[in-house]
Symmetry: C2
Subunit: 198 residues, 2 copies
């Protein structure tokens, strides 16, 4: 079963190691992970998609969330679950193509609402954003039409809740300094006791 | 000084921990990291942007590359350096906007060649791809025009060499099974001896 977590972390050395080690310790596979700047200086936002074993029960996501929240430099963790959300992924796809074979790739790019971002005498690079299935679709069509895919680089999934949702923790921090002490958020973790069982 | 590494890794548990721990051990800050599927099943591609200390010499990038290559489950590492390459980042930006304030955001979105991917009564979500400065530019304009940015999610940088370049290691693996033994690549590491100094 796939779970998507959005974590706000301080830009401090070692925070990625701690997050990766946690999932390793829990023996939960990370399917995809992205880290980038958030809306606030000094704080990064991670989207982590993890796969829990088939025997995992409904509390597993809460336990992972609680364990993540306990880590040093982690400010807030949101589990997206079935909430309405937008998921996007960016892919760069390099295809071998000469002047003779280019034009049908241009057509595909237009249909998939992708973009050509590089064009060399014998290759071109496509940029595409969308959900996983759309990106897989383009790659499949390229393979089936005999175009030689040379390289694929994918960002991993990024998820954001729809509507006017934003992190309550970051809102509570106000316009304050990012180095301000971590606010007390025990009320946020309703399943904290589960964390001790892991 | 910023260094960009592209690493091909096997989809095995713990590989992210090993990569993150390596940078921690070397005391090198990771600025951005993305992991996603590559062109070959069972193999993921990472783009890692790291910042080396000011006193680092020209061999630092080679040493990091060699250390990365030595890790278990790492198949190939490329340091982009000054080679011609395309760098892209994906950002999702959620802005508070009502019917009255929406239209000027639509105009900005068009100028920046971005896309609206969600529209709620009091907020909307923008998807933008490009280099860092373009994304920063849009965020700056949104802030200056008084639009309240609620959430920003950024993928981190993805880099791909221009032209018909692809991983020699993956080419050498041919159409073989991804579980095939790691090919002997000692000739790839020209500065292997530096790795012992770290």
């Amino acid at each position: 079963m796939l779970h998507t977590f959005v974590a706000y972390v301080e830009d401090k050395p070692g925070v990625l190691t701690r997050v990766a080690s946690l999932f390793r310790r829990l023996n939960i596979n990370i399917i995809s992970l992205t880290v980038g700047h958030s809306e606030r200086p000094g704080i990064s936002r991670m989207t982590i998609v993890s796969e829990t074993p088939a025997h995992a029960n409904e509390h597993t996501a809460n336990r992972i969330r609680a364990s993540l929240h306990k880590l040093e430099n982690v400010l807030d963790v949101d589990e997206i679950g079935k909430a309405p959300s937008v998921t996007r992924e960016l892919a760069l796809i390099k295809v071998a193509a000469t002047a003779a074979t280019r034009s049908h790739i241009f057509e595909l790019v237009e249909v998939f609402r992708a973009r050509i971002v590089d064009l060399a005498p014998d290759s071109l690079m496509i940029e595409i954003t969308g959900v996983e299935s759309k990106i897989e679709g383009l790659i499949q069509v390229l393979n089936e039409t005999g175009d030689r895919v040379l390289e694929i680089c994918r960002s991993g999934k990024m998820t954001m809740r729809r509507g006017k949702h934003s992190s309550g923790v970051l809102r509570a921090m106000g316009a304050s300094d990012p180095d301000a002490p971590k606010p007390n958020l025990t009320h946020e973790i309703v399943n904290d006791n589960f964390a001790d069982n892991i």
